[in-house]
């Protein structure tokens, strides 16, 4: 009797523990469902108009493969709306975010479920995604999203302007970029810039420390996971190069030149597209803008020039991308169906190729990158090479979103204006600021 009672008690305890484990995570993947009763799920994304229609085509392809799952694709939904919906308990079953910076918050708070158990259950090979994209879709060993197309950064150059200045090749090193930019810059009678060779000013269009850092091999975190800007000498080298570049052309002249641009980056009056900028750092998506807005422009693309002392970095660049995941409010059969959709959009070669060809973003699986169905033009193809480069990196995922990038950008904005003080000491201060923000996110004020 006593033994039977003990066995009963142990069984009960184990059962409760098992239930508790599943409940606390709320996330353990149940066995793969065989139930094919019709189910309708919602997918939110930030796409609109033509781009939303391309997502629709991929969703239709998914529906053909899994006819019992109907997907309601809703566009124009940014991350703020996704967060509000999660808090309100009415979030979509699957969400596609443009903001890789948000992943840390989604993961640490449990707002997006950990896909690990599903990946394990369905034997999804995460190595199917190139390493940088593996990095920005996981946070502290939790993979709360899968990559769904990437943005890769490189150098755009106007071939007519370079040819007129006697250049046949784009710059490969930072010093070449500076020399060519100085030569390519032309001025009006009043001394103001007419055509800029390159605008090295931080904050101009996509000229951001995060986007240039891979060209110096500069890393954000030290081996202990703390901000390591002051400890990594590459940051200082990069910032000093940029300051010298700005001073060579003239801070005030550049400022006056860029002050007029306002929000022209994503419009047909973009300075590179209109021929007022000979070289520029930008993402692969610009090829689609040029194709649509200024097809007459003669241009080409290349990897961004690298630190003169590290020529082996040439070919690499910065990458970030879209995330697709499942908000915690999706449950039961809807969650299972949402996982099928997430898995399909992130790993199906046909879907990736369809999306890449339509949206002109870089596909995020190795197979799709090698697919013969991919139809890149010569300019877009360079970004596929940059993405494959082993030195290509992204920014670290933190629970503070983009706080690390914002705080560094705020400092370099002053530094380039000559108000930055001692670079090493100030970078150490920025490290402290970033660490404090990380501590805030990790569990309260430091």
């Amino acid at each position: 009797m006593t033994i039977r009672r003990a066995i009963l008690t142990a069984t009960t305890v184990l059962s409760l523990a098992a239930c508790g484990g599943g409940g606390s995570g709320g996330n353990a993947a149940s066995p793969a469902p065989t139930d094919h009763r019709p189910v309708t799920i919602t997918l939110w994304s930030g796409f609109t108009d033509r781009e939303l229609a391309i997502i629709g085509q991929a969703v239709d392809r998914f529906h053909s493969a899994k006819p019992w799952i109907t997907v309601k694709s809703i566009g124009g939904q940014d991350d703020d709306k996704i967060v509000k919906a999660i808090r309100g308990g009415n979030a979509p079953d699957a969400a596609l975010s443009f903001s890789a910076d948000r992943l840390g918050s989604y993961c640490s708070s449990g707002a997006w479920i950990d896909l690990g158990p599903y990946i394990k259950r369905d034997k999804v090979d995460v190595n199917a995604f190139p390493e940088p994209s593996q990095g920005y879709t996981s946070y502290q060993a939790k993979r709360c999203a899968l990559p769904a197309l990437a943005d890769v950064y490189g150098l755009y150059y106007n071939t007519d302007l370079l040819k007129a200045a006697g250049y046949s090749e784009p710059p490969r090193t930072a010093s070449e970029l500076m020399d060519m930019a100085v030569k390519l810059t032309t001025y009006n009678n009043d001394g103001s810039i007419k055509v800029a060779g390159f605008v090295p000013q931080w904050g101009f269009y996509e000229m951001a420390p995060a986007h240039v850092a891979p060209a110096w091999g500069a890393t954000w975190l030290d081996k202990d996971g703390r901000s390591g800007l002051a400890k990594d000498p590459h940051w200082q080298a990069m910032l000093q190069w940029q300051k010298k570049f700005v001073d060579t052309i003239g801070y005030d002249k550049l400022k006056r030149f860029t002050a007029s641009t306002g929000s022209s980056e994503f419009s047909a009056s973009n300075l590179f597209e209109t021929g007022r900028l000979a070289m520029n750092i930008d993402g692969e998506y610009r090829t689609a803008f040029i194709h649509s807005e200024h097809p007459e422009l003669h241009y080409d693309t290349a990897p961004f020039p690298v630190d003169d002392s590290q020529p082996d970095l040439y070919g690499a660049g910065y990458v970030t991308g879209n995330l697709i995941g499942i908000p915690k409010t999706s449950t039961g059969r809807n969650r299972e169906a949402a996982w099928e959709l997430v898995k399909f959009l992130a790993t199906d070669t046909g879907a990736q190729v369809l999306l890449s060809n339509g949206l002109r973003n870089v596909p995020t699986t190795v197979d799709a990158l090698q697919s013969g169905d991919l139809t890149p033009d010569a300019q877009f193809a360079k970004f596929l090479d940059i993405y494959r480069n082993p030195h290509t990196t992204s920014t670290p995922v933190t629970a503070s979103g983009s706080a690390d990038q914002d705080l560094l950008t705020a400092y370099v904005d002053k530094y380039q204006a000559g108000q930055g003080g001692d670079l090493a000491r100030e970078l150490a201060k920025v490290d402290k600021q970033i660490d404090d923000q990380l501590a805030q996110s990790d569990g309260g004020a430091p």
């Binding site: 904050g203 995060a210 002050a259 306002g262 983009s402 706080a403 705020a410 002053k414 004020a445």
Partner: protein
């Protein structure tokens, strides 16, 4: 209104009501009166509770927690308040907001008063002038800021073009860290319509005989302004200053839009790559609060900043009202 029944004298010969009955009747009447008062007050009570008391109490509670908007708040005591002193962007935010209070608010109030004074003296076309000066107040803050960014654009804006034609310096305005806040002040002065109308109504309400008496005493225009007009409208000046200071403490939309758009929108990495552009000059206290709460998900800390802002607004208002006794006409009753 008739007096409560409990005060009626008992008729002769009628049995004297017992003391307990009298008290009970009085209590019932009191309760009815309280319920009636409460019924009339209920719309305000509901509004106050839902839209002020509840958010205030919740904010105060959240300020003592670690809260990321997505998971449950976790108690951290006063850690968020302690962090304020070490937050590198807290004091720059305070300094920028203080600048707006000390420079922009007086400039705006004085300008509104001057416009109102000018309109009040107009012999012809007063209605047209009043409309012209009031209209900017109707422009949504975001649209107005975008309009000013266009007007003040150093390359394509009409203002700098005109300055160029006149061979005068062409400032960078919103792109210059020394001129960004003055540019925002000009934007604020342009939109003074609402307070200008209040000043105008107040000016037109000053008794004419006071001016006539002053003139008879030989007071010139300046003396009439200082000794008649300003004292007479001093309660309105107090109102303008108090509301201006509170608006200055909460200054967000125009600063955020100007900094973001002049800085190139969301160009570059990070949501706040243009934060406080240029060089932190438009990083106002509420902008940093918003950044913490909604971009970095530090809502507990943002709540602590909001509580501090509320305390400062309350203190400044109390001080202004306290000192008003000395300079506001009829302000002796202000405590």
């Amino acid at each position: 209104m008739t007096a409560p029944a409990t005060t009626a004298r008992a008729a002769p010969g009628a049995p004297r009501p017992r003391a307990n009955d009298v008290r009970r009747t009085r209590r019932q009447a009191d309760r009815r009166r309280r319920l009636t008062v409460l019924a009339f007050m209920s719309p305000w009570v509901v509004g106050f509770s839902v839209f002020f008391a509840y958010p205030l109490i919740t904010t105060a509670y959240l300020s003592l927690t670690h809260y990321d908007l997505l998971s449950s708040p976790r108690w951290v005591g006063f850690a968020n308040y302690r962090f304020m002193a070490r937050d590198p962007n807290f004091w720059p935010g305070v300094r920028n907001s203080l600048w707006m209070i000390l420079v922009a608010v007086p400039a705006t109030v004085v300008f509104a008063f001057c416009v109102a004074l000018t309109v009040s003296k107009a012999r012809r076309g007063a209605n047209v002038l009043r409309t012209i000066f009031y209209l900017p107040a109707l422009a949504p803050p975001v649209a107005a800021t975008l309009g000013f960014l266009y007007l003040f654009n150093p390359r394509t804006g009409p203002l700098d073009r005109i300055l160029g034609v006149l061979h005068l310096p062409q400032p960078l305005w919103f792109d210059d860290p020394h001129l960004a806040k003055p540019s925002l002040t000009l934007l604020g002065m342009w939109g003074v319509g609402a307070i200008m109308i209040i000043f105008l109504a107040s000016l037109l309400d000053v008794p004419r005989q006071l001016y006539e008496a002053a003139e008879l005493d030989g007071a010139n225009a300046w003396q009439r302004l200082v000794h008649v007009t300003l004292p007479a409208i001093s309660p309105v000046i107090l109102f303008a200053v108090v509301t201006g200071v509170i608006d200055g403490l909460q200054y967000f939309t125009q600063g955020y839009v100007a900094g973001t758009v002049a800085g190139g929108g969301d160009a570059g990495a990070g949501s706040g790559s243009s934060l406080g552009y240029p060089e932190g000059s438009t990083l106002f206290y509420p902008v940093w609060l918003y950044q913490q709460g909604f971009q970095y998900f530090h809502m507990g800390y943002a709540a602590a900043m909001a509580v501090a802002l509320f305390a400062i607004a309350l203190s400044v208002t109390a001080v202004l009202l306290r000192t008003a006794r000395h300079w506001v006409h009829g302000g002796e009753g202000l405590q």
